[in-house]
Symmetry: C2
Subunit: 347 residues, 2 copies
């Protein structure tokens, strides 16, 4: 029998559970020894992949807590971080995959991963679209924007839409879909560079730097003199309170992020929920995976928009597995410009 090749396999592992905002040193790059580049014999069908791109997403922070009541279980300290990734199949004993296939799905923050539930992987067709976009525009963030906007926000042409964290992985797509739908769209972000992107690259009608607004309620009043019909909520906290004051009757708030509240054991209180009643607001939390049957439609729609030049996408690519902890931590201070990914290997 032919001798299988071997390779070194570096990994990023969680040091221990945290209950505050994540820091770089909560994760450690370790040498995982050598890995045999073949699926072990006698095991259930599995796929061995070489990881190409890893996706840095805020929800990963939730898995770093010692909390078992969520929709996704926590990591185990000392074990490799998991997240969505894009990878090339090196070996497969599953009939659906062959060496050379490009796949997306849950993988490890390491150079090679043995995927023992290959049915959760999706094959990705290589074409003119950048591979890493399958972690952003055409991946979970894009799908979050798509179902959040169309299914949760119930948008109508001409409505007033506000997006917070608007240059982020999800927000930039929400804003562009809302513009394509005929809405008036304003976004907020935390640097002037991002505000420029919103106005000049993503085509938002208006955008503002929330850090330069001493009074968020007044800022929203300025940008929405007639009020907000739809708020795509990505941040929580003071912005949500200011939005509640500025909503119109029968408004809708799609809640998917609250990234600013992720790291807090005592998150900022929301004080203006009474307006849910007086303005008959529907505020709905959602998770994209509840809508998976819509994924093919999403992929087809958004791919077409992208090819036709009606949607653009901005990502922030960190090069090298060793930079994954910094890239991930940067999400929580808004360091990333656009969708944050880590390139582990280009091929």
């Amino acid at each position: 029998m032919e001798q299988a090749a071997v390779a070194r396999n570096r990994k990023v592992v969680l040091r221990e559970y945290i209950s505050r905002a994540p820091r770089e040193d909560d994760m450690v790059l370790v040498d995982g020894g050598t890995v045999v580049l073949r699926v072990p014999e006698g095991a259930a069908p599995a796929v061995l992949v070489k990881n190409l791109y890893l996706s840095c997403d805020p929800y990963i922070r939730g898995r770093m807590r010692d909390f078992h009541g969520s929709y996704i279980p926590p990591f185990t300290p000392g074990s490799v971080i998991e997240g969505l990734g894009l990878a090339r199949v090196v070996d497969s004993t599953h009939p659906g995959f062959s060496a050379g296939d490009i796949v997306s799905g849950m993988t490890g923050w390491e150079e090679y991963s043995l995927i023992d539930k290959p049915e959760q992987l999706n094959k990705v067709q290589q074409n003119d679209i950048p591979l890493s976009y399958h972690l952003g525009l055409l991946g979970m963030p894009g799908f979050t924007a798509y179902v959040g906007f169309y299914e949760v926000c119930s948008p109508n042409k001409g409505e007033f839409v506000f997006v917070s964290a608007a240059s982020g992985a999800v927000g930039q797509i929400v804003g562009q879909l809302a513009k394509l739908h005929g809405c008036y769209v304003v976004g907020s972000a935390g640097t002037n560079q991002k505000v420029e992107l919103l106005k000049n690259k993503f085509g938002f009608d208006e955008a503002f730097n929330y850090k330069e607004e001493p009074d968020l309620t007044a800022a929203l009043k300025r940008y929405f003199p007639e009020g907000i019909d739809i708020y795509f909520e990505n941040v929580g906290g003071a912005m949500l309170d200011a939005v509640l004051l500025n909503m119109r009757a029968h408004g809708r708030i799609a809640v998917c992020g609250m990234v600013s509240q992720h790291g807090m054991t005592d998150p900022v209180g929301i004080h203006n929920l009474f307006y849910l009643v007086t303005k008959r607001i529907r505020m709905q939390g959602f998770i994209q995976s509840d809508y998976l049957p819509m994924f093919p439609q999403f992929l087809s729609d958004v791919t077409k928009h992208y090819r036709d030049g009606r949607i653009v996408y901005v990502e922030d690519v960190s090069i090298g597995l060793e930079n994954a902890p910094a890239a991930f931590v940067g999400l929580f201070s808004g360091k990333n410009v656009g969708k944050q990914v880590v390139c582990v290997s280009q091929e």
Copy 2:
């Protein structure tokens, strides 16, 4: 021309705008002089009524503030308080109403009111049902419970339902409708007497006195070991935070009251909204008047339930217009047992 009768007309007027919880002395009983018991000639069609019962409702507090952004405008200081009431027509120049008719609708906190928009009045059929129930079980609170439960909560048989302020005007009906729908129903109230009512009169599966629970989260965990599917939110504040921790995935929260927050310029913050996302909760504010086309169906359904003995109703009747301020203020400290009404006159 026949000489019209006259009568003294006492009124309860708002002293000045308030921005805290209402106190008795925010309202003053004044002698409004004599009123001629005939609709003035030459005016637009109007109806002169003798008020029989007045409804004390928490939303009235919102009209005592100098705030014009709500769905209903504020009162004018020095003018009579308005609210829903039940009245007998004394004179009418509107073709839809005649002397002797019993009507419900917006009226003044006074002995006689001239209603210049009679199209908002509803004629009430006198039958075996107590007249005052048209302000409660068969009025706005009953309709709020009906549309809130069936239209906003999207209930399914066997689901776990929690109702706060459960012995109140709305809560007692929500709980009974939920039981009729095949749900498991728990209510909270602020005295042991009310808890007894919930269990022994309204047929809730369980009930507890929230003032005797040092840890609301633990209390809810005890009554809902599998979590809450539906929360009919009447109080806001700490209870809402505790509920968010105890909701099940895809739960629904119908928001109609937040009575504990009404009087506050700086309401208690809600800290657990992040669970809207992880549990995919829909939280929806609503106002019964948005559902008016369903009123006839409600009236027919609930009247039948009442006649068949499947629904009971408890009201707290204060006798005399002079007791209206105390009755209203009592709402905010939970003094009332059941729906609070004021009997101005029995005939």
